[in-house]
Symmetry: D2
Subunit: 129 residues, 4 copies
Amino acid sequence: MDATMMGSMKDAMPGMATMDMSLMQACMDACSACEQACTVCSTQMMSCAPACMNCADMCNTMMRAMMRMQGMTPAAMMAMLDACIAMCQVCMDACMEHAEHSEVCRMCAAACKACMDACMTVRSAMATA
Amino acid sequence: MDATMMGSMKDAMPGMATMDMSLMQACMDACSACEQACTVCSTQMMSCAPACMNCADMCNTMMRAMMRMQGMTPAAMMAMLDACIAMCQVCMDACMEHAEHSEVCRMCAAACKACMDACMTVRSAMATA
Amino acid sequence: MDATMMGSMKDAMPGMATMDMSLMQACMDACSACEQACTVCSTQMMSCAPACMNCADMCNTMMRAMMRMQGMTPAAMMAMLDACIAMCQVCMDACMEHAEHSEVCRMCAAACKACMDACMTVRSAMATA
Amino acid sequence: MDATMMGSMKDAMPGMATMDMSLMQACMDACSACEQACTVCSTQMMSCAPACMNCADMCNTMMRAMMRMQGMTPAAMMAMLDACIAMCQVCMDACMEHAEHSEVCRMCAAACKACMDACMTVRSAMATA
């Protein structure tokens, strides 16, 4: 995401003016990476696949919502972040069950972990804003 | 959704065996209707559009997750329902601001309200299961 | 989709003024039904699953595009319809391979067939408009 | 996308064994970048917004399909690429109309152009495979 695009998002949501946009940027990137890893992982036909599909959709929805903060409130943003964190946790747990046997699952679990962490960081920054 | 398809979803998630599937069905239908209303409403270029787009994506993600309960946990389901309820609230509020001037906004707000109610009903049924 | 909402879509795309909106409505409904059938079918972990996921996404994108004709041209609409028809064909063929063993696959294949037919009907109506 | 993940996609579709995976990788990246640019651009409430929303959805569907080649055929892939190219063209044209007044539109048009080019490159590689 270019700085100009990021700038156009800045101040889009009331109460977000003091948000460090680099945290938002990192979170959107983590959501995108997680969606992609989950999409690939879901094609393996392993038991994690439904969780991967759920996680891919939630991460895409989360990423897009961060790009459309004009249509968000802090309360809805918090709830979406919680849902994304919860969904990444489910997917990570499902993939870790066969991480020993599948390199793709191991990478998917890592992408879920990174996305959870990025969402938690944004959540913390919002809570203290 | 056909009864056979609903049957294939039944018991898919641990702890959901006692769930009244008709509540789930009604919720999926409400999510689908809300996604469609929000998508049409977002093309009006009114101030509600970003909220409508966010709500359309969240409702689609919610509907799909209910169809893939094998990849859900009760905790993630609760968090997703809360996020969908919160997003529908934001969109309904945004559309109600010009409901007097736009029949489409009025209908979109009604679809958001119906989706919120259906999600709350599923949430209550889960909490008492 | 309500008549008021349909009316707001009418005339949205240049060259669509003579389109029979009931054909568009039937096609959007068929896309929605196909997305849902494919989403359920994809959780069965059978060989059709990747095709079902692809088809679910394409049908959702097709449905939404029909609701946002202001952002379409006849040429793009034709190309999208062709892509949706092709994707439904792939999914139907994949599901028919085990239709004898899975009622869900049989129903998914039927939903794909209905969506293909509805897209072809819209395509024909556009070509003669 | 990691090399391991790319490897898991390799040979997934009959007739794709000779495909240069770096072209696929570049195309998926261009789809992802285009979806993001279109999503941001659509929040500006300018006349390009419906085209941007359509393009964002098509690019996401295209990207995911490339990650799930097990559920594709060469014919469906060609049709999807044509649809993505057509949709990017529509969005680029719509954004170019006010590229002088909006830096975001200018960047969105550039992302559409890059996505079109990447899709055409994959299409050419498939046609000669």
